[in-house]
Symmetry: C2
């Protein structure tokens, strides 16, 4: 077995993925687990111990961890994660290093995804781009002048928490009108729930088995495709807000492109296309040029692959 195997994980707000990756950054074996609150890293460790054989784990030369949240670059301490309740002050690098007795490298999931797309995906050859991932939350990775920019403490790229409407809805972070609170998957689900609670009729209530608490962005999208007026309105609002947020990033960074990943890339006509129109109207008009909004190419594996690239570069 190749001695340069890498164990990587991508710990996100909803799901944590784990994979064994070879030195060509190809996924050899993978699994996933629901991200639990509190000491959820214990579940991730248990999953790794269960799923991979001892010889497989013995072949691992290093561990790469991509995680959604504020991660100190110096210590690998996870300060907090708005979409992972209870993951507060978790010394994630230390925990995995103690558990597996291997070198552990950590990075913000969106920063590592940007690195993955730069090395192997949609952003090959781009020296200046912003990567934005839109799923449960919204995260960002900044490739500037061919280098990842992570800021003073490693927190840079928290684009999901820029305010795009001070009167907007409450965000998981506690602020109001964050980009994430207005254009993410959870924003879509929340707006649909709120509008239904205020009495707007929709096929979504039946689709959710009568329980608005069961509404998800995927369900809203399906309802929109079936012509449900409320669902269409909610999807459109999210798309416009996505376009607003991307326009902000374009006027700030003047990037060669913006690369968008996450669940939203699956809603091409409902989200991507209208968001692109807003960008063309706003940032495009201001800069008198079209800044391409590219779809991420590496799909759900992007965090795993970016984390593997980080480890392979280091060991």
């Amino acid at each position: 077995m190749n001695s340069k195997m890498v164990l990587t994980m991508d710990i996100g707000g909803t799901q944590s993925r784990v994979a064994l990756i070879n030195d060509k950054a190809q996924v050899v074996k993978r699994t996933s687990v629901t991200t639990e609150e509190g000491e959820g890293y214990k579940k991730v460790i248990a999953t790794i111990r269960d799923y991979f054989s001892k010889p497989e784990l013995d072949s691992v030369a290093g561990i790469g961890i991509a995680i959604a949240g504020l991660l100190r670059s110096d210590s690998g301490l996870l300060l907090s994660s708005p979409n992972m309740a209870g993951w507060i002050n978790v010394p994630i690098r230390q925990i995995f290093s103690d558990e597996f007795n291997l070198p552990v490298y950590t990075g913000n999931d969106a920063s590592l995804a940007a690195q993955g797309e730069y090395r192997y995906g949609a952003a090959k050859g781009l020296e200046n781009f912003v990567y934005v991932t839109v799923s449960t939350g919204i995260g960002g990775g900044l490739m500037l002048g061919g280098e990842m920019y992570i800021g003073a403490d490693g927190y840079a790229g928290e684009v999901g928490h820029m305010t795009i409407d001070p009167g907007g809805p409450q965000c998981a972070c506690g602020m109001r009108g964050c980009f994430e609170a207005m254009a993410s998957g959870s924003a879509i689900a929340r707006e649909a729930r709120e509008k239904m609670a205020s009495g707007v009729s929709s096929i979504m209530i039946d689709m959710a088995g009568g329980d608005p608490g069961e509404l998800t962005a995927e369900l809203v999208e399906r309802a929109a495709r079936q012509g449900d007026a409320l669902a269409k309105e909610v999807m459109h609002n999210a798309a416009v807000n996505l376009g607003l947020g991307l326009s902000n990033l374009i006027v700030i960074f003047d990037p060669e492109a913006v690369v968008v990943g996450g669940g939203v890339t699956k809603s091409d006509d409902l989200i991507f296309a209208p968001a692109r129109r807003v960008v063309a109207e706003r940032a495009g008009c201001y800069f008198q040029k079209d800044v391409p909004i590219l779809k991420a190419a590496l799909g759900d594996d992007v965090g795993l692959i970016g984390a593997a690239a980080m480890v392979l570069d280091s060991i």
Copy 2:
């Protein structure tokens, strides 16, 4: 006379400054002129020819131009400038090079101001900071990893045109709710005018000689200091909006500090202090740390000095 004299100018929305600067980046002689619409650069050239003697101009080894607007880094073409009507597609580098037969270096005013503060001012020793200038408009300069980041075409740092409220007032750029339209000097004057037009009473109408068109941010500030309720409200709104915009930049860049320059630095208690409180509540709370909001140190000369540094580094 020192052969390494530099002629620099800082062409802004309201005023253009011109100076002769020595190789220690000290201003030796200076003047200024109101920035005119259309072919306003002709007035700048005439001012230089009038004000400086032939021996002075003969001593100049290079020209540095800081300008407010979208300036292509490759050609020195000014694409447009939201606050300088008619300055559209002006080949500013070419014009000054033809006129003075000297090497001409151009840069966005806020980027060069950031460079000036980094070399000689409030940002000495900071490798990662955002410079924000708040006067007629709002501009930004990005020092990231010890290098100026100017983006793909040189337009990066247009932080004044990020949307912070999609329902906000119209901006000079044509969009709505831009940071500049909500926190700049012109935003302050406009909000005061609009509120007075809608019948709110204020001492400002007398201060402006009965003509709301004569209202300026300085006048609003003076009225606020005299206790005028409307003026105080307008100043407070601008301060809160400034805090919002700065918070956005902090969550995006995780900088060591934000350096704020421009006219606003003179309104410490009315603008700076409340803006700092908003930043502490929003970005500070999210990152669980205080990101210092520093006042620029070089005052009105910052663009001139930054432009001189650019020329001195190049010739």
